[in-house]
Symmetry: C2
DNA sequence: ATTGCTATTGATAAAAGTTGCAATAAGGAG
DNA sequence: CTCCTTATTGCAACTTTTATCAATAGCAAT
């Protein structure tokens, strides 16, 4: 977590504060990679933090671009450090997961930008499909 | 709702049943377009249906491809008839929404399929960005 | 160091969403 | 039309997420 001093400065420049709670959550995500709010709470609640704070902090950090939100398509969110952000491809039969390079979507996003005039920030997308194994098994 | 007999046959062929509850929910989505579980519950609860049934039915119909799940990026889901499915582009400053033609993602999806071997069904994606108005205002 | 402003947290309650199980009812078979 | 199987529902308890508000604690300024 070498980036903490920089993050702290960023927040302060925007009128926000760095707190032990925010640090704990960043640490948990640094160690855990890709976690749901409940998983994060399990990792940090021995410090006395409440669920409400976990949810609020995650929303705050994501709103400030420090975390990325990953949606698993079931309505439950997972969070990760933005520096490690990537998209997911999940097999809806066996649940196998693959990472998707953001670059693979770049041209589609450029197309959408030119057609809509929006300036798009893709965030974290989850795609669903059938992996090769499940495709051959269903033949 | 001219498609009900066809949907009923599809479900029965898979060993499932068509029920008044499922019909009410399909009707609500036909009338309402794009609704959250709570909005759907408000429209159908006078029939005596419980929240649990609403949630289970939505998941069931989506799992059978009859509904599409739209994720607004905040972890809350909205549902729509698959026949009316489209993607969304939302301005994260003013909330303005635009529909995105599924065709605009087609080539990116073909690229992902060829690189990963997965057979992808895109589902419903939500993109975030800044609309033209908000871009010019922030200059 | 101390002070003051106010962003942030914890506590609490409410809302939204999920799960297990017994009772009900869709619909195929006779 | 009646029976039977079992998919589906309602009920109730439970988990997850959000909102409110008073108390706390960053941190800029003195």
């Amino acid at each position: 977590m070498s980036c903490i001093p920089q993050l702290t400065r960023t927040l302060r420049a925007r009128g926000y504060r760095m707190t032990p709670q925010r640090l704990s959550i960043l640490q948990a995500l640094h160690d855990g990679g890709h976690l749901s709010p409940t998983q994060i709470y399990e990792r940090v609640h021995q410090t006395g933090m409440t669920e409400a704070t976990v949810y609020r902090t995650l929303e705050f950090l994501a709103g400030n671009g420090i975390l990325s939100v990953a949606d698993r398509g079931n309505g439950h969110l997972a969070y990760e450090l933005s520096s490690e952000a990537h998209h997911h491809l999940i097999c809806r039969n066996c649940g196998a997961q693959m990472a998707i390079e953001p670059a693979m979507l770049a041209s589609a996003i450029r197309l959408m930008e030119s057609k809509t005039g929006y300036q798009i920030s893709a965030g974290h997308l989850t795609f669903f499909g059938l992996c090769q194994d499940c495709q051959s098994r269903s033949q």
